[in-house]
């Protein structure tokens, strides 16, 4: 599995995906400064989906271009590991975005001379909504990717990314109360179940693929 993750990371490093991610991040960073606006910004919410979408679509495009489905399974890995690595990569990217946003938030708090505590370095309600939207988006997109392939899915992916960003913003805007710990926990458990269920479907599709 680590060999597959290293492969994905090597592709991302060599392509322009990272530059675009950093550029996009620096463009939306000003919206992070407004702490009240922070959890409800369309930009901030879309940022997660867009960055993961960007890295995922670079990976799948390069896999498609170089026919990696024709040689990666020939290495000493199982098809289940190949699919698992893709799910882990996407989840790690999401986690990295959360961490990065928190780091920016801490820097802003320091610059403003405010106290830093566990409650103000992250908007946990927003994070719970994002985890839910993330698991729904990739829970649907990844099995479709293994079923239909990159070519048929690429337009659908960007459309779904925009919709997911909008949905998560709307959920934040309408004031869905996700800040209660039990609600957050429930959202995380539901997300994990969706993601795992999606993974088993993808493994099945990929194992039986031709």
């Amino acid at each position: 599995m680590t060999s597959l993750l290293y492969k994905d990371w090597s592709i991302i490093k060599k392509t322009r995906a990272l530059y675009f991610s950093v550029l996009y991040f620096s463009l939306i960073m000003p919206s992070f400064q407004n702490m009240d606006f922070f959890g409800k910004s369309f930009l901030a919410n879309s940022y997660y989906i867009f960055i993961i979408y960007l890295l995922f679509s670079y990976l799948t495009a390069y896999d498609y271009k170089y026919n990696s489905d024709n040689f990666i399974p020939a290495f000493p890995v199982t098809k289940k590991q190949i699919v698992a690595a893709r799910y882990v990569f996407v989840a790690l990217t999401f986690a990295a975005c959360l961490v990065l946003q928190s780091v920016v938030r801490i820097v802003i708090l320091v610059l403003k001379g405010q106290d830093i505590n566990i409650m103000n370095i992250m908007d946990y309600g927003q994070a719970a909504i994002l985890i839910l939207v993330f698991s729904l988006y990739f829970g649907i997109v990844l099995p479709l990717y293994y079923k239909l392939g990159y070519q048929k899915l690429r337009l659908l992916m960007i459309g779904a990314a925009v919709i997911s960003g909008t949905v998560s913003s709307v959920l934040s805007e309408v004031g869905l109360d996700m800040n209660r710990p039990l609600v957050m926990l429930f959202a995380v458990i539901i997300s994990a179940v969706i993601y795992y269920f999606s993974f088993t479907i993808s493994v099945n599709i990929y194992k039986n693929g031709n």
Partner: protein, 294 residues
């Protein structure tokens, strides 16, 4: 003797193609040529052996173990070259080898660097800037750098000039010279196998036509050539596998050369058949005759 590879009753069905009960085996220390025209089923078989596709039926045994259930352990012992591919070509050779090395427990950088030098490849150059022959050599260097025991090569010489192909054949012979390594080499360029293959497996339209040692093929198969008026007599022997006709005569393939030496009239010409002759006569020469012994 233990078999390195045993393919038993392999079946794979697609909408427009079926791999039908494919069976053959290889013993250690030999080169097997897997021949057949384009679309015969060579790549489908190899993809099944490499666990890239899932067969509908049949069993693949490698190093005495079934592939299904032991794929990771088995693939540690296999080196491969697949078709036109040389992996992610936008990377340089060293970066790509860095990725590949992480898949293999016994990857040996010393060996990789040695082969890169031997094959005169610059590891700092992007793979896409390599020629087709250099890409094959790079894939071979990778396959050789993790102490593989079985090499599965799918059309490695396709698109290469004769000089490069002959150089590769020498390398393949060096690989098996220790008697422990084995090569399964698919190709439609049968002349590549004339000097190096020990066994030949011929597949056509998804079915194995024969799988046997090359020497027996060379001694038993022959081309029988004659005039047009001798055609029916030769077909009537029941020993013809394929026949091609021209305006002046015919050329027929038999797998019973001795029968023709004993029984055929002196006016018939009996010649040694090359692998290419055998393939061409099977493929092009069995379409319109109902008396062929197939």
């Amino acid at each position: 003797m233990n078999k390195v590879l045993e393919v038993i009753g392999l079946e794979k069905h697609y909408d427009n193609f079926t791999l039908d009960k494919v069976s053959f085996s290889i013993e250690p220390g030999y080169i097997m040529g897997y021949i057949g025209p384009n679309g015969a089923g060579k790549t489908t078989t190899i993809n099944a052996i490499l666990d890239i596709i899932k067969p509908d039926k049949g069993k693949i045994m490698l190093f005495g173990k079934e592939l299904n259930g032991n794929a990771c352990e088995i693939k540690q012992r296999i080196g491969f070259i697949i078709g036109e591919n040389a992996f992610y070509e936008f990377m340089n050779a060293k970066e790509m080898a860095g990725i590949i090395s992480r898949f293999y427990k016994r990857w040996d950088w010393g060996l990789f660097n040695k082969y890169m030098r031997e094959f005169e490849l610059d590891p700092g150059k992007k793979i896409e800037s390599y020629s087709r022959g250099m890409k094959v050599k790079f894939a071979l260097a990778c396959a050789l750098s993790h102490h593989a025991e079985l090499f599965i090569l799918d059309e490695p010489t396709s698109g290469l000039d004769p000089v490069f192909r002959s150089e590769l054949m020498e390398i393949f012979q060096q690989i098996i010279s220790d008697g422990e390594k084995t090569i399964l080499f698919s190709t439609h360029i049968t002349s590549d196998l004339d000097n190096i293959a020990d066994y030949i497996t011929f597949i056509y339209q998804g079915r194995i036509v024969f799988s046997r040692d090359k020497d027996s093929i060379m001694t038993e198969f022959a081309l029988v050539k004659g005039r047009k008026d001798q055609r029916d007599m030769v077909l009537g022997s029941g020993k013809i596998k394929g026949m091609l006709e021209s305006d002046v005569g015919f050329s027929a393939l038999t797998d019973d050369r001795n029968w023709f030496f004993r029984n055929a009239p002196g006016s018939l010409v009996i010649e040694r058949a090359t692998l290419e002759d055998i393939m061409v006569h099977f493929v092009r020469g069995n379409k319109k005759y109902d008396k062929l012994a197939i």
